[in-house]
């Protein structure tokens, strides 16, 4: 630190401020990222149960996909029906 800035009022460094702001936005970003996908397995299980009330299907015959396309998201649900007896 220089003699002059030593006597200047100490203000918080701008890098410190940058770091604090980034900690908040990045945590938020990561939260969004994760929560967006977090519910999918649970939803897949519930959907499977509902379908099974009517059709005998296995777990891998029900696929759930979330796709981001530009500004909107597409939730894709794919059910493979069993072969006809």
């Amino acid at each position: 630190m220089s003699l002059i800035s030593y006597f200047r009022e100490t203000k918080p460094s701008s890098a410190k401020l940058a770091k604090e702001r980034l900690q908040v936005v990045i945590a938020h970003q990561r939260g969004e990222r994760n929560s967006r996908y977090e519910f999918l397995p649970a939803m897949q299980r519930e959907v499977l149960e509902v379908i099974r009330k009517y059709i005998p299907v296995d777990q891998e015959q029900v696929q759930v996909h979330l796709e981001q396309e530009g500004d909107y998201e597409v939730l894709e649900l794919n059910v493979t029906l069993p072969d006809k007896p």
Partner: protein, 263 residues
């Protein structure tokens, strides 16, 4: 080489990194994915030798031999230029995958993909087939935030993510670093950025005037062995290849006594 944010040094890094790999004896090609905004050819100094481009190749209008430009300085270094005129939608995932398979079949050890800015189709195309990603980040708020965004996209949209393979290996590369500004408290430090972005650090490239001079001359900056940025890029390549190399150019050069007193 990816970043989200534009203008952080992806093309500078792609050119230096590919050149460094070839200098160490690895057959390397560097592909410009910035369709419509070709720049890598200028940075590599081969702009007058472009005949066919990546899109001609993807669409089968030219073959690999016709399209690849062989570097005249470094053995085993090739450039695949982007198209200047075509629409970026001309790059299809299948087409790009075929070109990458062809390059592998032609014994290329490293395929360096210079991503366009943004997080949309062009950037996603550049990272889709990646085994490793270098996230180029400047010590500045919007670049750091965008790097984190890009990591989210790599983790969910790469082929490795889609197929449930082992995830893409991610590396942080901090460029345009100014140690003096860091010690003045005006710039995020290496430690701050590593902590925020949360991936392994591959290297730190200092801000350097030589980068502009190198681009003026069409010489990848890594060929400038006296320049700190060139040397830092050599270290990055060595580290990428598994060598233990300490960080350089991250401490501020001590000021003279007078400057320290009155600076």
């Amino acid at each position: 080489m990816t970043s989200g944010k534009g203008g952080v040094g992806k093309t500078t890094t792609s050119a230096a990194f590919a050149t460094g790999l070839a200098l160490r004896g690895h057959k390397t090609v560097v592909i410009d994915f910035d369709v419509g905004l070709r720049n890598l050819d200028l940075i590599m100094g081969c702009e007058r030798r472009v005949v066919y481009d990546f899109i001609n190749l993807v669409q089968g209008e030219a073959n690999l031999n016709q399209t690849l430009i062989k570097d005249r300085r470094v053995e085993g270094l090739y450039i695949l230029p982007a198209s200047q005129t075509r629409d970026k939608d001309a790059l299809t995932r299948e087409g790009v995958g075929q070109v990458i398979d062809e390059l592998k079949a032609a014994d290329f050890e490293y395929i360096v993909c210079d991503s366009p800015a943004g997080i949309e189709s062009g950037a996603q195309m550049a990272m889709y087939y990646a085994d490793e990603a270098v996230v180029v980040t400047n010590p500045e708020v919007s670049s750091v935030r965008d790097s984190d965004r890009m990591l989210g996209i790599i983790a969910s949209k790469s082929r490795r993510a889609e197929q449930g393979d082992e995830p893409v290996k991610e590396h942080l590369l901090i460029t345009r670093y100014a140690p003096a500004r860091v010690s003045d408290g005006d710039m995020l430090s290496v430690d701050d950025i590593v902590e925020l972005v949360g991936i392994g650090l591959l290297g730190v490239i200092p801000e350097s005037e030589s980068v502009l001079q190198a681009s003026n001359a069409g010489q990848p900056v890594i060929l400038d062995e006296k320049d700190p940025a060139g040397q830092a890029y050599s270290d990055v390549v060595a580290r990428f290849l598994g060598e233990q190399v300490p960080l350089r150019f991250v401490e501020a050069v001590p000021k003279g006594l007078l400057k320290r007193l009155f600076g």
